[in-house]
């Protein structure tokens, strides 16, 4: 049967499908890297190894469909090594781990340039050839001693020089995919080809997988076979028989001494089949008849109270000759399923813009619901109001679920950094313990993507400038290896990401000197410690020398800060010279439907995040005081809190009401009060960002559409608090009181002036 050349429609299909292949392959490649790094920590973890193999196999398979021979060939070599690792013939040592990481990079290069042959430079070809040599060096090393005379010791073929010390019996099973015939392939040819490689000990085709003739689509393929082949050929050669049906066909080539291991593996890879016996039968570890026999034995003994009920697994081992290893795997699988931990999480790929459309509609639904509630209340119709409440409750549930769809754990992005840290530290001759904390914290997908680069830059910065070499550290009385922690946690309405290192911290003298040299600060002027630290974010601060290959590349710290501010976030530095540096990045969770508290000032309405609201004081006049500088403060159970008057802050023109109210809120800087005209109650609201036109606006973090259709502005408690503190500080300095003097004393002092 001839394997036809691609027709035009095939070529078109391939061109269209290529981007999807590249993106899916990219995911696999990323997963490979993560798995490799995890394996370094847990070299004996079988699951990781299996997942690793599967990823590589998937890439190879898909590349096969697209005829991307370079990818297929190269990945095949990698797979060979991975397979040996799976069989336990090769252990994962650091040099192999490094080799595999480099190979993964090469695979990435090959996939990225899949569409463009010309991108494959001679240097890349050399690199690739070198990697293949290294891979082969490992896979063609001396075979470990294996029990049993049938052990294959064939060295895997270098070109033509296959040294076989004897044929052995391979178990080959294949299940062909439905499209096999349509893709121009024929399982019979493959079977024939295999039989030509040696002596077929046995071959059997399955009939169970084929539909009855009346239901059969003759052009679809439902064939499968299991073959035992005695051959001196290498695994590569055997698998080569399937190279044209890589994606269509599920096949397995097993050397006999690992038969049990193969069964054990097959069990591990199975989808849920909780019954122990069924699992073993379906992988062929035991026949149905034998199982039935054993089960009836089990049944019989059950009736005897003095004898403890024998475990099925034990019986199968003892009576049906199932290897203990296989039984153990089945039992483990059962346990896993019982524990309800999904052995593989299932995902669906969803187009991001479709999800956005749904979320927008959901937002409108929330607003419409709020509008309906208002109208229902106005009718005073009890059952209508109740029906509305029920509806709003459901809407809230949908909202919680849907918003969650866009959220991804930051840990996924953080994990990418492991590789960078590893390679960077290594190339700098530094030793680093890298820890990720709070990877479960979730952030909107788009934000996570935008935060990745700035974070990477900051991490590199820590490695490059912050952490010292082992010698320097020891000399300083520190541990040999530096510590770098990337952590994430939620705060009210925001997420806090922290990069913490125990390096040298920021060298303020040098920073100040440079700032003077570059005219960023007037010569001779010494700003506060914090201000000096923040100078590193000024554009024009980093120089060519400063910008090393690692942390530079034209991406300065000023760009980092700008990127973070573009997300309406903020960045703060906490540096202890000689001890370390903490970089805190605070990002608001802007994409949300939040629970808010609605207030009115004049004709304008504002929303406060409900989680910040501590208490409300209606008709607060008796509590508010005015200090001698005219600043409003609030006396609350003995404490004096500063008060922000929205009316004044936002110059709202309209006559003030007779009585004002105050909402007491909690901010990272402490409690303060917000004076408003009216309190309008709790209100669920969709947060709509205001757009880049308003990015310099302080005190407002977004807008929201009320049920009435009006737009209300959402107050940003943290920056409002900053305004208040600034006021406090300037009032205090005016009164010449030391900073940090408790407010009460400040007010009294001011009042007494």
């Amino acid at each position: 049967m001839s394997y036809g050349t691609d027709s035009d429609s095939d070529k078109e299909f391939i061109a269209q499908a290529m981007p999807a292949f590249i993106s899916e392959a990219a995911e696999q490649i990323e997963a490979i890297e993560t798995l490799l790094l995890e394996l370094e920590e847990q070299p004996d973890n079988r699951d990781l190894l299996d997942s690793l193999f599967r990823c590589a196999h998937t890439v190879k398979g898909s590349a096969g469909i697209f005829g991307l021979n370079r990818v297929v060939e190269f990945t095949h070599h990698v797979e060979t090594l991975l397979d040996k690792m799976r069989d336990g013939d090769i252990a994962l040592k650091p040099d192999i781990s490094t080799l595999l990481l480099q190979c993964n990079d090469q695979i990435k290069f090959l996939v990225d340039t899949a569409a463009d042959e010309s991108a494959d430079t001679p240097e890349q070809k050399d690199t690739r050839a070198d990697l293949v040599i290294q891979l082969r060096a490992h896979t063609e090393g001396p075979e470990p001693a294996v029990v049993g005379s049938a052990a294959p010791t064939a060295a895997l073929g270098a070109t033509g020089a296959t040294v076989a010390t004897g044929p052995c019996v391979w178990s080959i099973s294949a299940r062909f995919g439905m499209e096999t015939f349509r893709n121009g392939m024929d399982p019979l040819s493959i079977a024939r080809y295999l039989s030509g490689m040696g002596r077929v000990v046995s071959v059997r085709s399955g009939v169970d997988t084929v539909p009855a003739l009346v239901n059969l689509n003759p052009e679809s393929c439902y064939l499968s076979f299991a073959m035992e082949l005695e051959t001196a050929a290498t695994r590569e050669d055997i698998e080569g028989a399937f190279s044209f049906v890589l994606d269509d066909c599920q096949f397995d080539v097993v050397a006999p001494e690992t038969q049990d291991r193969k069964l054990a593996r097959a069990i591990e890879e199975m989808p849920e089949t909780p019954r122990l016996g069924a699992m073993l039968v379906s992988v062929g570890a035991v026949s149905q008849d034998k199982l039935d026999q054993v089960l009836s034995t089990q049944q019989q003994t059950r009736g005897m109270p003095s004898v403890g009920k024998p475990k099925l697994g034990d019986l199968l081992e003892a009576q049906a000759g199932v290897a203990p290893e296989v039984v153990a795997a089945a039992v483990a699988k059962q346990q896993k399923l019982r524990d309800n931990a999904p052995s593989e999480e299932r995902y669906i790929r969803v187009q991001a813009d479709r999800l956005d459309a749904v979320i927008n509609l959901l937002g409108e639904l929330v607003i419409a619901g709020a509008g309906a509630t208002l109208l229902a209340r106005a009718t005073h119709h009890v059952s209508l109001i109740e029906a509305n409440l029920q509806m709003n409750g459901l809407i809230e549930e949908i909202r919680n679920g849907t918003l969650g769809l866009r959220m991804v754990p930051v840990g996924e992005t953080f994990s990418r950094f492991r590789r960078v840290v590893r390679d960077t530290a290594s190339s700098l001759g530094k030793e680093v313990n890298f820890e990720i904390v709070g990877g479960d914290a979730e952030l909107d997908k788009s934000m996570v993507e935008k935060i990745a680069d700035p974070l990477m830059h900051l991490v590199r910065n820590s490695l490059d400038h912050g952490l010292e070499t082992p010698q320097e550290r020891l000399a300083a009385g520190k541990s040999r290896a530096g510590h770098l922690t990337l952590s994430a946690r939620h705060e009210t309405g925001a997420i806090l990401i922290r990069i913490d290192d125990d390096g040298r911290g920021i060298n303020r003298e040098r920073v100040l000197q440079r700032a003077w040299n570059r005219g960023l600060v007037e010569q001779g002027v010494v700003p506060s410690d914090n201000d000096i630290n923040m100078l590193i974010f000024e554009p024009g601060f980093s120089t060519a020398e400063q910008v090393t290959n690692l942390s530079g590349r034209g991406v300065g710290m000023d760009v980092v800060r700008r990127n973070i501010e573009a997300l309406r976030g903020s960045i703060r530095l906490n540096s202890h010279p000689g001890v370390g540096l903490q970089v805190d990045i605070r990002l608001p969770l802007t994409l949300a439907i939040i629970d808010g508290f609605l207030v009115g000032v004049g004709a304008s309405k504002f929303v406060l995040p409900l989680e910040s609201v501590v208490e409300v004081i209606e008709a607060a006049d008796q509590h508010t005081l005015v200090d001698a500088s005219g600043r409003h403060v609030l006396e609350l159970r003995g404490a004096i809190l500063p008060v922000v008057r929205l009316r004044t802050l936002y110059t709202i023109e309209s006559s003030p009401p007779d009585r004002v109210s105050v909402v007491v809120v909690n901010s990272p800087r402490g409690k303060f009060g917000i004076e408003v005209d009216v309190l309008l109650g709790q209100h669920q609201t969709v947060v709509k960002p205001l757009g880049s036109l308003f990015k310099s606006l302080r005190g407002i973090s977004g807008s929201s559409i009320l049920g009435s259709g009006e737009v209300a502005l959402i107050l940003d408690v943290e920056s409002l608090g900053a305004l208040v503190t600034a006021e406090q500080q300037s009032a205090a300095s005016r009164a010449e009181l030391p900073l940090g003097t408790p407010v009460v004393q400040q007010v009294k002092a001011i009042a007494s002036v």
């Binding site: 937002g363 036109l693 990015k695 310099s696 407002i700 502005l713």
Partner: protein
Amino acid sequence: MSSQVAETAYTAGDASTMQCLVFQVGSEVFAIEIHTVREIIQYAGITMVPQMPAFVRGVVNLRGAVVPVIDVRARFSGLKSTVGKRTSIIVIDAVVEGGHAPLGLLVDAVTEVVAFTQQNIVVPPQFGTVIPKDFIRGMGKFGDEFLPIIDPARAFDIEEMALLVEHDR
């Protein structure tokens, strides 16, 4: 006469006419290419955003989207416009980082749609235009007069306006 230059400023591509929306701002008349216009809404209340310069009138709710509204008169002349019976908001597709976003333009009236042929569009004069020359794509012949055809990407450049907002404070 302002522009004797017969050069056409508008390179049509395929279309030989440019469809434009004509609108009034104060006593001046302008035009804007219709393909950037998403819709025209009547003025029905705008939410004021505090601490903004005069040309940022506020935001408006457009079927669930919060759209900023630029006071075109204030943008062009610094004078705030007063709301009248025919005050409208032209919603255009403005270019923002990563794509497009709606932007509202507060004008005193929207009068008509006009199709300018290629020959009827000329290069704006070096000086003497009521608004900066950069804001104008070309001058469209409209009866005896020439109307400035606004280039929204320049006249309402979000980045530029954001900078103005920042420095205004």
